[in-house]
């Protein structure tokens, strides 16, 4: 075995979202460190993947050992202002269903949090809700 490839894990998470939102009705999605100029009064999604603390799972130093790698996907759903929250929640539900208690390529997704409505959207000019999903991956050395 080898140390966890964080980009492989990230690809598992993000490709799942990109594939879903590329199907009708299509919703633009943007990931970390990507330029994006949203169209006013449109719906779009921002996906931010980050890794947190790792912890020991098994004995053994750099061989025959395991770590638990924990991470968080923060997904911001933006939609038009002044038309209620329904359209936003439709997108959020698609995202929530995508990760809810799913195991993909060794990545365990927990039950999602949200969608939570944010009082102040960033960028402004949209209704913003947020879905967060914690996940973990068992790294085998």
């Amino acid at each position: 075995m080898a140390a966890a490839d964080l980009n492989t894990i990230r690809a598992v998470l993000e490709s799942r979202l990109a594939t879903e939102l590329a199907s009708a009705p299509v919703v633009p999605v943007v990931f970390h460190n990507m330029a994006f100029d949203p169209t006013p009064n449109s719906s779009w999604v921002q996906c931010l993947t980050s890794f947190g603390a790792s912890e020991y799972l098994g004995q053994g130093l750099t061989s025959n050992s395991q770590n638990r790698v924990i991470g968080l996907i923060t997904i911001n759903v933006f939609s038009a202002l002044g038309v209620g929250v329904g359209a936003n929640y439709v997108i959020a539900k698609r995202i929530r269903d995508l990760y809810n208690r799913v195991i993909v390529s060794g990545v365990y997704f927990d039950a999602p949090i949200g969608p939570e409505v944010l009082a102040k959207a960033s960028p402004e000019g949209f209704l913003q809700t947020q879905v967060r999903v914690t996940f973990e991956f068992i790294e085998e050395l």
Binding site: G60, R68, D110
Partner: protein, 140 residues
């Protein structure tokens, strides 16, 4: 001074038909060695006297369950071996996995295996064992 942390340790096991091999996925182990004492106090003594007697050991090994992890299945299934002739060997390492170094070695019997499956947590197996015969301490 050289302190040791748990992640440096390991457990090796063989069930009677092979050679010792690391049980992958071991999260912790414990071993309690007990020596009986027999009283040898004489009438008229002011203080009690004892002599050391029979020595025995017991302990646990905790595994993060993985059916594909090397050595786990044989270890766990030793508890259901019938007419167990105490042919299993253990070597518990505080650090490393070099036979006869920083370890305690003994023959033993797995007497208990508790498998725990809880929502949102990794499945864990805790096996208890008793030693049988000589306990060799290499904790130099």
């Amino acid at each position: 001074m050289a302190t040791i942390r748990g992640e440096q340790g390991s457990v090796q096991f063989e069930t009677g038909g092979g050679s010792l091999a690391t049980v992958v996925g071991t999260r912790s182990w414990s071993l309690t060695i007990t020596k009986e004492t027999y009283e040898t106090t004489d009438h008229g003594d002011t203080f009690r006297n004892f002599v050391g007697g029979l020595i025995s050991g017991e302990g646990t090994v905790e595994l993060v369950y993985d059916p594909d992890a090397t050595g786990q299945a044989a270890f766990i299934e030793d508890v259901v071996k019938v007419n167990d002739a105490t042919d299993a060997s253990f070597e518990l390492f505080t650090t490393g996995s070099t036979s006869g170094t920083d370890s305690v070695a003994f023959a033993g019997i797995i007497t208990d295996a508790e498998i725990t499956s809880t929502v949102g947590e990794l499945d864990v197996v805790t096996c208890s064992f008793v030693t049988s015969g000589t306990i060799t301490s290499n904790l130099e």
